[in-house]
Amino acid sequence: MYMQINNLYKSFPTRSGELIVLKDINMSIEQGEYICAVGASGSGKSTLLRQIAGLDRPTSGEVRIDGQLITAPGHDRGMIFQHYTLYPWMSVLENAEFGLKLLGVPKKIRREQASYYLSVVGLTSFAQALPKQLSGGMKQRVAIARALASEPKVLLMDEPFGALDIHTKESMHEFMISLWQRTNITIFMITHDVEEAVFLANRIYALGSSPGTVRKEIKIELPERNFAVKRHQIFHDYRDELMELLREHGREATN
């Protein structure tokens, strides 16, 4: 197993006692997989990702990547946040190479690497632009290039396309599929968009709410990965199954 989450619990102290946000999460992910975790808002998705990223420590349980226990943030995991996190005073190229700069890579080499990943995300011509000159989708692509430049073991994504319009979202989906196929990187992505999950993932964890638990693990086997597949019956079946799962949990949570 490449990435493992074992018996992970997370609770926060609140005025009315402990709030259990994540309860007994177990996941195991192989190298090169594209995993989506789907859950309703408030089901603890961001919290889970923060434990994997090492930004926060689990109350109990552990996360391991390549056998190593995660205790702190590090460059072996790239992360794309729900909100745009480019450094506004740096150009697109400087943003893309910032991780390598922090890691002490010599200027010439990091320039080359960052430029390569800017070309991967299709933004070579914007290398000198400032983040404020970019659209939302372009910003997320720069963030992806920045994360990929230091060649992390896993790419963690927290609802990265949540703020995008449907067309930009679709082109980002196409981009993610081709990126995943070209680089064979392991991706762990969080979303509440069921169709997005079915389209992108090769395996989905459906999360239940309050507290967040893994309700079901679904392996996705689609005949192809392009937009035509969205008309396939099998795509609809996956989607309906997931929708039904999330709906049940929504009902449980309100009861």
């Binding site: 943030p73 590090g74 460059h75 992360m79 996190t85 450094y87 005073w89 922090l102 890691l103 994360a147």
Partner: protein, 281 residues
């Protein structure tokens, strides 16, 4: 029911937004109107001053006319007193502001970045900030004598605490996610502090310094009440004692113009050095 069921529409009184160039909320005005209004802003008070002083038969000891003030300006300039006063005041404000910047910027950044330092310093800063700096004059004379030290210290006391707290506030606005991304990209706390927080807050810090420089100018007048032999503030109090109202006006105008030039200089610096921070593209 006796009355007809009423529709909510009967109660709705819609407000209309009428089109006006002058009264537009959160919109720019045309550049020509802007120029006209800027000129009016300066010219109108001057015009009123000129009209009142020349037509209302007011004693020059009470309100000198613009030409009398210009005359006084020439007199003070030719005798070299004005230059000496200006340099003395500029020096005090400059040295005071430099010390303030030197100490308050690092302290403010530390307070904004670390909750521990904030908890340690914010209460005492918040308290001292409300003590009027001029009230420290007796103590300053007692501790530091009557040379330049107490004058510069007065400016320091009056501005340092405000500036530290304002710098702290700009640091608190750094999005947490920018700092967390830095850790994930492989940075440590030092990189987050020096490579992310500091560049992010530079425009905010320059702006805080710009605002507090105005306060420093206010205090130079007060500081020169401490046994000064020269300085614009000193000039004004001496002129007041001998009822040379025209010289009071010269002092006030020179202080205002110098202050305004500093302000414009800082604004230009922020605009040119931090293009990324400006709202417009």
């Amino acid at each position: 029911m006796s009355t007809e069921p009423k529709s909510i529409r009967q109660f709705i009184r819609p407000k209309t937004v009428n089109h006006s160039v002058f009264w537009q909320i959160a919109e720019d005005i045309p550049p020509r109107l802007n120029t006209v209004l800027t000129i009016t802003s300066i010219a109108l008070p001057f015009l009123i001053w000129w009209a009142v002083s020349s037509f209302a038969q007011i004693d020059a000891k009470f309100l000198p006319s613009p030409s009398q003030v210009i005359e006084a300006f020439g007199r003070l300039w030719n005798s070299g007193e004005l230059q000496k006063d200006t340099i003395a005041s500029l020096w005090r404000v400059g040295v005071g502001a430099l010390f303030v910047a030197l100490f308050s910027i690092p302290v403010g950044i530390l307070m904004g970045s670390f909750a521990s330092i904030r908890a340690l310093l914010e209460p005492i800063f918040g308290l001292v900030r409300y003590m009027p700096a001029p009230a420290f004059i007796p103590l300053l004379i007692l501790y530091l004598g009557i040379g330049e030290e107490p004058k510069i210290m007065l400016i320091f006391i009056g501005v340092f605490f405000f500036n530290s707290l304002m710098v702290m506030d700009t640091v608190k606005f750094v999005p947490k996610e920018l700092i967390e991304s830095t850790y994930i990209l492989g940075g440590n706390k030092a990189s987050a502090l020096f490579q992310v927080i500091v560049p992010y807050v530079i425009p905010g810090i320059l702006d805080a310094c710009r605002i507090n420089l105005a306060a420093a100018w206010q205090l130079v007048i007060v500081s020169e009440l401490i046994a000064a032999t020269e300085g614009l503030g000193r000039r004004i109090s001496v002129a007041g004692r001998f009822l040379r109202t025209d010289e009071i006006f010269v002092g006030l105008i020179v202080i205002g113009v110098i202050g305004l030039s500093f302000d414009l200089f800082f604004q230009a610096m922020i605009r040119f050095s931090c293009k990324w921070a400006s709202q417009k593209r």
